[in-house]
């Protein structure tokens, strides 16, 4: 394994493998629960009275728990697992405190995710997108984000900032700006009414994806690619250009969720312009990533890298789609339709989940005592891949059908009737997706202990890290010139 190889030479930075493991398992468990909420909600659209309409199973509450579970439970835990592995390797320093890590783990899962779910089902929530957990939970999220900054960021500064690899930039940016952006969508709209509140809400709707999910997913991809391709990233300059454009443009996108609303047109047009430019930024980032991947094929042998590579492609597609659908001519038609639900699943289930799964597979391979089942992970990849393609294609077509009916004089209910076959297929797509996630769990909990390293040996080979990513290696080894 490349990094360990290099770090053997000098004092290896201590990776809190137990925290990696705990967050990794929590990620998949909360993922399975979140996906169950989503599947139930999709079934309720097909057979609304099937469950007998108990309040705690009503569609709206399931919908709230589905996305909050994905955002906090699955992605949050997966990101933390990755950070516990990556931060010591990126900085050559351990994270601040294992005990703080236990607190953070407990806080995140037992003061945010679990009680958040229960409160939503019990009828305590906030009707704001990506902010559905009630405000009492928001307080714990903010606390956890502060603790995460205390836990992970000092290592970068202790080490000195001279040699920041691009993943480090993304980690620092994500942790700091998520904390800043979080109140915009969770607290401000409670204090500022109506259209004014919506303007702030829009900031967080986009920043949740743009400043929290995307940077951490990219941090994983930028980390996994050099570590698993045995080559440095194609261009550090492009990496940094992409990073800065992202942090410049992403926050300026928010208002594109409210095109043709009463929010001042200049703000809408600004956000739409930023959305188009964001597409350019993503092309830069993805070009750099794909050039770094050249020679590995579209489906690399190493499963962590394979997830990361497909995540990169999903990132390109979903971002270009986003740039296009923010444009007024497209937005006025597809907005509010299933097209957007397809888009958000391409972002969260395609891009982000594939990055998170790739990151988890990568770090799992490097926990010497962790069980690892390569065959299950292979299955997971292909099941998820086919599930995402099926679901997103289906919802995109459904959105176009709905949009066409809305533009016509047809009665509203016609659009519901027309959507039904597509909703049926969407629920069907849950079969490969759920199976893929169960396979992911099996990949990390079955198989022999230490099989991960063997799999790395087989697919990548053990090569000194210096040949793979000199910049990474220099940092990881603690060498200073």
């Amino acid at each position: 394994m490349p990094m360990m190889e290099a770090s053997k030479a000098v004092a290896a930075p201590r990776v809190e493998a137990r925290l990696v493991y705990a967050h990794g398992l929590a990620a998949i468990v909360t993922l399975l629960i979140s996906v169950s909420f989503g599947i139930l909600a999709s079934i309720e659209l097909l057979a609304p009275d099937l469950a007998g309409n108990p309040p705690w199973l009503s569609w709206g509450r399931l919908r709230y728990d589905h996305t909050q579970g994905i955002l906090f439970g699955w992605l949050g835990n997966a990101f933390f697992a990755f950070l516990y592995h990556a931060v010591p390797l990126l900085t050559g320093r351990p994270v601040v405190s294992a005990r703080l890590g236990q607190w953070l783990f407990g806080l995140w899962n037992f003061a945010v995710v679990a009680p958040g779910w229960v409160l939503v089902l019990a009828g305590f929530s906030q009707p704001l997108e990506w902010a559905e957990f009630p405000m009492v939970i928001d307080a714990f999220v903010v606390l956890a984000l502060v603790l995460a900054i205390i836990q992970f960021l000092p290592s970068f500064f202790w080490r000195g900032l001279e040699d920041l690899y691009v993943s480090s930039w993304y980690v620092i940016g994500a942790l700091v700006f998520t904390l800043l952006a979080y109140p915009m969508g969770n607290f401000v709209p409670e204090l500022v009414p109506g259209a004014r509140g919506a303007a702030f809400s829009g900031l967080w709707i986009h920043d949740a994806v743009g400043l929290y999910v995307t940077p951490l997913a990219l941090a994983i991809i930028y980390f996994v690619i050099p570590a698993a391709t045995r080559r440095p990233i194609f261009s550090h300059f492009l990496s940094m250009l992409g990073f800065w454009l992202l942090f410049f443009l992403y926050p300026l996108n928010g208002t594109h969720h409210y095109v043709f609303s009463v929010i001042p047109m200049s703000a809408q047009i600004g956000a739409i312009t930023a959305s188009a430019l964001l597409g350019v930024d993503v092309i830069i980032v993805v070009t750099n990533l794909l050039l770094s991947l050249r020679g590995s094929g579209v489906f690399p042998r190493d499963v962590g890298l394979r997830f990361a590579a497909m995540s990169t492609i999903f990132y390109l597609v979903v971002s270009i789609q986003g740039s296009v659908q923010a444009q007024m001519a497209v937005n006025q038609t597809v907005h509010f339709s299933d097209w957007v639900i397809g888009h958000s699943h391409l972002a969260m289930l395609g891009f982000s989940t594939f990055a998170a799964a790739g990151g988890l597979a990568h770090v799992w391979q490097r926990i010497p005592w962790a069980r690892y089942n390569a065959r299950a992970l292979d299955w997971s990849y292909w099941l998820l891949f086919s599930g995402v393609i099926l679901m997103v294609t289906d919802l995109t077509i459904a959105g176009l059908v709905e949009a066409r009916l809305w533009q016509s004089a047809a009665p509203w209910l016609d659009s519901v009737r027309a959507a039904r076959p597509y909703w049926f297929i969407r629920t069907g797509s849950a079969i490969p997706i759920a199976a893929g996630f169960i396979a992911l769990l099996a990949g990390f909990t079955t198989g022999p202990r230490g099989a991960g390293l063997k799999s790395v040996e087989r697919t990548i080979g053990l090569v000194p890290v210096g040949k793979i990513a000199p910049r990474l290696a220099r940092v990881a080894s603690g060498a200073s010139s």
Binding site: E44, P48, V176, P189, W412
Partner: protein, 408 residues
């Protein structure tokens, strides 16, 4: 690395960190604070003085709407787009949202927009619909909320009442502001050249919802004949939930409605009357308008509904009873139902629900007697058994049938 280059790098990181924070602050300023100030100014300028906020019950209802995620299927924001205006009405102005803590604009429209839902449907309709949406619209995918009721749509708990109060408040502030409010807002907008801003004031109707019942309104003449099979299909989708599959007012949605839905099998309707009612609904009742159906579909539906009435030969009335009926009618009924049975008596403006128009709808003798004996619950039609004797009741029950003008 020498000391100078280190210092350079440290400096560039400092600059970069500051730049990052500035980027973020800029986004908050440009997309949050600044639009907020503009909207606040618009609100102050365009709002009518003292707009009506929410009552305590409506606020509780809003909390239920929030907790059930209603906004995730029903937006509350009419966009400045022709397609939105045609379906829902005037685009949402900033001041209309001034009491929305937090906003409920919503990300998705599985159901229709509700920004102007107030006074679109009757309270009864809302109760029946919340209790069992598919009783009214078999193809609806809306969740049912039986837990807001004590076992039937007739017995709403406080939560159901609050929720319906809230739904009825949607769009109210602007409606109450009236034409003066519109004129005031338009003057305050001062945007004669801003085409988009102008759209807010150019909707044909403030609430364009095709379901909203109208007390008065024109209706397109129905082309005859329609397609009976298509009519049946539409009837089973849209009507049978209340009127029953055979038109006997016994659909699953009927029980909570006051007045009960019309017994279509017990009346013979003129095409014009069906056209009028389908187009405008019956204001004050749960009968909504169906202005979203095409002219062909309305004609087909009307043809099917006319077929629900089992024509039967009813005996002609002896002349002496006919005279009695005319006398009883003139003394007791004409004030509301009109001298010629057109439902246009002098008392009509006082009535919440327009009285029956016998020229367009001929009740069977049984229906007619039932209404005279029991009254029509939920309307001003009271039981007449205390005032009229059996002979008079029968006479007038027959008599009103004579007004009908729609026989074919």
């Amino acid at each position: 690395m020498n000391r100078d280059s280190r210092r350079l790098i440290r400096m560039s990181y400092l600059v970069a960190s500051v730049a990052g924070v500035v980027f973020f602050a800029m986004s908050v300023a440009l997309l949050g604070v600044w639009p907020g100030r503009v909207l606040e100014g618009e609100t102050r300028a365009m709002s009518p003085p003292h707009p009506l906020g929410l009552t305590a019950s409506e606020r509780r209802g809003r909390a239920i709407y929030s907790r059930e995620g209603c906004a995730y299927c029903h937006t509350q924001q009419i966009r400045y787009l022709h397609s939105d205006m045609v379906r829902f009405g005037a685009p949402t102005l900033a001041w209309e949202t001034r009491f929305d803590y937090p906003h409920l604009w919503g990300p998705r429209r599985i159901g229709p927009d509700l920004a102007r839902e107030g006074r679109t449907h009757s309270e009864d309709w809302h109760f029946a619909h919340l209790f069992a949406p598919r009783a009214l619209a078999p193809d609806s995918v809306m969740p049912a909320y039986p837990s807001l009721f004590d076992g039937s749509p007739d017995r709403p708990r406080q939560e159901a009442r609050d929720l319906v109060q809230y739904l009825e408040s949607l769009g109210r502030a602007r409606e109450l502001a009236g034409p003066e409010g519109e004129a005031h807002a338009r003057a305050a907008c001062n945007c004669p050249t801003d085409e988009m801003a102008q759209m807010a004031f150019h909707a044909t109707e403030l609430n364009a919802n095709p379901a909203r019942a109208r007390r008065q309104g024109s209706a397109p003449k129905l082309a005859a004949p329609g397609n009976r099979d298509r009519g049946m299909q539409l009837y089973l989708h849209d009507c049978a939930g209340c009127h029953g599959s055979r038109g006997e007012a016994d659909g699953p949605g009927a029980s909570g409605l006051h007045p009960r839905p019309a017994n279509l099998a017990g009346h013979e309707y003129s095409v014009d009357r069906l056209g009028y009612v389908l187009w405008n609904g019956v204001s004050g009742t749960s009968m909504q308008g169906w202005r979203d159906l095409s002219a062909e579909d309305l004609a087909s539906l009307a043809q099917f509904v006319r077929g629900l009435h089992a024509a039967q030969q009813e005996p002609a009335l002896p002349q002496n009873l006919a005279d009695l009926g005319a006398r009883v009618y003139a003394d007791n009924c004409a004030q509301c139902h009109g001298e010629h049975g057109a439902g246009d008596g002098s008392a009509v403006p006082e009535l919440r629900i327009a009285p029956a128009d016998f020229r367009g709808a001929r009740p069977s003798v049984a229906e007619s007697l039932r209404a005279l004996r029991n009254g029509v619950e939920g309307t001003q039609m009271a039981p007449w058994t205390g005032r009229l004797n059996e002979a008079e009741l029968s006479a007038v029950a027959y008599y009103v049938r004579g007004f009908f003008q729609g026989a074919q």
